[in-house]
């Protein structure tokens, strides 16, 4: 982000950057930056809080009126009020995870579980007017079968032109997670990101299936399959202890070339 500011400013366009990781901004030294004490993924703070977001946006834009640069790096003073857990939140009711964790059982369970969240997901869309599901273009029941096929050792054909089966699987996994996290947050309570993540990864068949899928595909002979499985399914925070790498972070991924 700071590099973008440098390039654009060199071309004559004034910029101000939001900084989420202050040491990186201090190294890159963009013309102007506002460091914010928010979680990665929330550069403008809490969802559903226009007044707070406005303060962040304005604090950043006001740096454009300063004369004392370069370089200006300032700190936003307030934490994200939506970061703490909401004790009133309850996840949608789902059957307990079965003891049978075989790939076939997990795949079947995933297909059964997805429709159980359909009503909650419809409620989410009605409440927020949007959904982040849509990268794979797979409708939800078919998406579950597509992931389940990989889990059971089959490689289904890609349903999207220009996307290999494994690349489409990556976007199907993103869509599956978005569907669950949105369904889980439907209603009046305001669960934290951690509450929703804990529920998805510890209590649902989707979480169990993606963790198992990662392990299955990491045993593949195909380096690209292993790369996608290792980096794009399960956040580092929720990897089983035996699979957790020494480092995790927003940029923790193996080598990846453009166009793959």
């Amino acid at each position: 982000m700071s590099a973008l500011g440098h390039y654009l400013e060199e071309e004559g366009v004034a910029t101000v950057a939001i900084s989420l990781i202050r040491p990186q901004t201090e190294k890159t030294r963009p013309p102007r930056a506002l460091w914010v004490p928010f979680a990665l993924g929330r550069p403008f703070g809490p969802p559903g809080d226009p007044a707070f977001q406005r303060r962040v946006v304005l604090a950043a834009l006001r740096l454009l009126e300063r004369e004392a640069g370069p370089v200006i790096i300032e700190d936003f003073p307030d934490d994200d009020p939506r970061e703490p857990a909401d004790p009133a939140w309850r996840p949608p009711p789902l059957p307990a995870l079965p003891a049978d964790g075989t790939p076939a059982a997990l795949a079947a369970r995933l297909e059964t579980e997805i429709p159980l969240l359909a009503e909650a997901h419809r409620r989410w869309i009605a409440e927020h007017g949007r959904t982040s599901v849509g990268l794979s273009n797979l409708p939800m029941p078919e998406l579950g079968r597509y992931i389940g096929d990989f889990l059971c050792g089959r490689e289904p054909r890609s349903r999207r032109v220009g996307f290999s089966p494994i690349l489409l699987l990556r976007f199907a996994a993103d869509d599956l997670k978005a569907y669950y996290l949105e369904a889980g947050a439907a209603g009046l309570a305001k669960p934290s990101s951690k509450q929703l993540g804990d529920w998805l990864w510890n209590s649902t068949s989707a979480g169990a299936a993606l963790i198992a899928l990662r392990e299955t595909l990491l045993a593949s002979d195909n380096d690209r399959t292993k790369l996608i499985a290792g980096n794009f399914f399960v956040p580092g925070l929720y990897l089983p202890n035996t699979a957790r790498p020494g480092t995790i972070g927003a940029n923790s991924m193996g080598p990846w070339q453009p166009g793959q």
Partner: protein
Amino acid sequence: MVRLVDLPPAQAQRLAAFECPNFTTEPWVSGPPLSRRRVAIVSSAGLLVRGGTPFRGRDPDYHTIPADTRSADVLISHVSINFDRTGFQEDWNVVFPLDRLNELAAEGVIGSVADTHYSFMGAAEPDLIEPHARELAGQLKRDRVDAVLLAPV
């Protein structure tokens, strides 16, 4: 929060040690007061308009997001899965504060909002992004943008 002292040590160490470009120049462009500025958002969240092709890896180019795009039609396709997405799922302004910019323009706090906004995918290599960023500068100037809000994720 991303105060590094609050993160698991391994993650904090990696984020702090992340290799960053070492620029030898410090460019600086000044301009008129905010009330006369035309503002565009340039995100690095891997955003795209629904129906478009997601960022497939560390693609160094950018997607355009017209200012009249509905929030329901903006998706996120950043390659990293290690950041919160629930905020964006609930409210796109968490990542792409276009509603806030439109409000500030309506109140006269900023001059106007650009016709088009942009998104890169932030895990792309900076030196591969560079030609696309310099080309984007031309687009911004043609849209008379003189203030860019750079939004990471």
